[in-house]
């Protein structure tokens, strides 16, 4: 050290202890980050590989039939995934469509409300919602929400949206207690806290400058949000939605308690359905190694991963395109 201060030239001539120490820090940092990132990719690859190995016999035997067949018959060793894929996609879509507007609205409220008295309890409440175990949601859904929805919401939807030409197919009443609408709504309630929390953080990072720019032009609060806040937060909101969607796709217990676990494929949201996580959870214990059931379940798992990855990639593309359009 003393050498350095006496003669600055040594800094260029040779490595000083300080510089060497800095360099060691650099290499430790880059080493660990590379290790972790490579490790994560390797973990994902290993997971996919195991799934693929397990699923291969089922894919080999049934081919594309696996995706188009409605039969799931362990006794006769015939397996088709269509009802599960359908049920998963429908309930998750329903959950996202109903949760997203509520979550964004809630996040905006939590950001815009000036009164701490109102904001802090609301924030804590939303975070608490995220901490409730899903089996509790399932129980509550089964005993409280589902009877309520079946008695009031389903008839109300049937009497209003059900009267419209195309939408009527979605609300054909069935006598079933469990149905896809109920499952979708409980999923929405479960993912609202995640989407809200992430969206709130993203909105809080929008520079105050931009909001002021809009307000100085004469924008009302709503207009400033539309002009400056939401466009800036858009890709973050998509990321939040993906997190919520991930949870919705993978949610097992609450959904299997509410969806009715029926194998039919019906356009009506009031009909029972089945999802991929639900069938895996219900049958993995019984799956024997002799038949194809074990392999078929792993194939379903692979399909679930594929759906999630596809949706994540599609949403990224959507964001990038809309950003390029600059609209």
């Amino acid at each position: 050290m003393s050498e350095v201060s006496q003669s600055p030239r040594t800094e260029h001539d040779a490595e000083t202890p300080v510089r060497r120490r800095l360099r060691i820090g650099d290499s430790v940092l880059s080493g660990t980050t590379v290790l972790i990132s490579v490790g994560l990719v390797a973990l994902l690859a290993a997971l996919l590989w195991v799934l693929e190995q397990g699923a291969a016999p089922a894919f080999m035997k049934y081919g594309l039939n696996f995706f188009t067949s409605r039969q799931w018959d362990p006794v006769n060793d015939r397996f088709g995934a269509l009802p599960y894929i359908y049920g998963t996609v429908v309930t998750s879509t329903l959950a996202i469509l109903s949760a997203l507007p509520i979550s964004v609205g809630l996040a905006l409220l939590l950001n815009e409300v000036r009164s701490r008295l109102l904001r802090n309890p609301l924030t804590v409440l939303v975070d608490l919602l995220a901490a409730i175990p899903s089996v509790v949601y399932g129980l509550w859904g089964l005993f409280v929400l589902a009877p309520f929805l079946n008695r009031y919401l389903a008839p109300a939807l049937g009497a209003t949206l059900g009267k419209l030409p195309i939408l009527s197919a979605l609300f054909v009443p069935t006598p079933a207690v469990g149905n896809m609408l109920n499952a979708g709504i409980i999923l929405a309630i479960m993912i609202i806290p995640i989407i809200t929390a992430v969206t709130r953080e993203v909105i809080a990072t929008v520079p105050h400058d931009l909001r002021e720019a809009a307000m100085a032009l004469g924008a009302t609060r709503y207009e400033a949000i539309r002009m400056a806040v939401l466009p800036h937060a858009r890709s973050g909101i998509v990321g939040a939605t993906m997190l919520g969607l991930g949870r919705a796709l993978g949610e097992t217990i609450a959904v299997s308690m509410l969806i009715g676990n029926g194998l039919g494929i019906s356009a009506s949201l009031l009909a029972p359905g089945y999802t991929i996580p639900a069938i895996i959870a219900n049958e993995f214990r019984e799956a024997t190694s002799t038949g194809m059931q074990h392999s078929a379940l792993l194939a379903l798992a692979l399909v679930l991963v594929a759906i999630a990855l596809f949706l994540a990639a599609a949403s990224r593309l959507l964001v990038r395109r809309s950003e390029r359009m600059g609209s």
Partner: protein, 258 residues
């Protein structure tokens, strides 16, 4: 010809800290009024009170009145949004909307006011961009994102955005302090050209700039942290920079403090 502003008994607070006390000031129509003073003297706060942006900060409030013609901007039934529809503002740091194109930025205020006719928007955008001295540079990049321009271009784009709605008063908060000399020159040219059409109030820490472009100059000072800032003196710019009446003004402009 635009209206001026008559500031009467204006005070401003941040929480319990009274930063402005009882300011009386006349902003004459069609003139450039410069507000100078050392850092923390409340000149930006005063400016932000003139379009009621001050109160948008947490815990900030202001009392008094600002007469705009016969409209008291601080009357109980006066809507801050209405105020800002007539009184434009340019900020210290350029703040174009990064997700909008250059063109969309310029017409953003017009769209807020319900103008959607494409041809009309184009004409008014071109006019505003010419006034802001940015048309020649950006006319071929109207559909590029507004956030990818140089700092000077961004600021002149913001000036164009403020001018596009044809405000009667334009408030500028150190508009050139983050810019290079050439961009500063262009911004000053714009201000001088706008004289007589728009009433301009500009806050600047650059005394040469105030001397170059303003008709009248106001000097503000906060003499201690316990006391709120006050307007010391306002007069014709030439008078202020040659024969100021108050000794504190003289000390400041001759560089003895601040």
């Amino acid at each position: 010809m635009s209206d001026g502003l008559d500031i009467v008994g204006l005070s401003a607070w941040y929480g319990t800290d009274r930063v402005l006390a009882d300011v009386q000031m006349e902003i004459r129509p069609g003139q450039v009024t410069a507000i100078i003073g050392p850092s923390g003297c409340g000149k930006s706060t005063l400016l932000r009170c003139l379009n009621r942006m001050h109160e948008e900060l947490p815990n900030a409030r202001a009392t008094g009145s600002v007469m705009f013609g016969d409209w008291d901007l601080y009357a109980p039934d006066s809507d801050p949004t209405d105020v800002r529809l007539h009184i434009g503002m340019v900020f210290q740091r350029p703040n174009p909307f990064p997700t909008m194109t250059v063109f969309e930025n310029v017409v953003a205020g017009l769209k807020l006011r319900g103008h959607y006719d494409r041809v009309n928007l184009k004409e008014r955008a071109e006019q505003a961009m010419r006034q802001a001295g940015v048309w020649d540079e950006l006319k071929d990049r109207l559909n590029k994102p507004g956030g990818r321009l140089s700092g000077g271009q961004q600021q002149r784009l913001c000036i164009a955005r403020a001018l596009a709605v044809e405000p009667q008063v334009l408030l500028m908060d150190e508009p050139a302090s983050a810019l290079d000399p050439i961009s500063t020159q262009l911004v000053e040219d714009t201000i001088v050209q706008l004289k007589n059409e728009v009433t301009i109030v500009i806050v600047t820490h650059n005394m040469q700039q105030a001397a170059r472009i303003s008709d009248r100059t106001a000097f503000m000072l906060r003499e201690s942290a316990e006391r709120p800032a006050a307007l010391i003196e306002i007069d014709d710019t030439r008078q202020m920079f040659t024969k100021p009446i108050d000794k504190r003004t003289e000390a400041y402009i001759t560089g003895r403090f601040g």
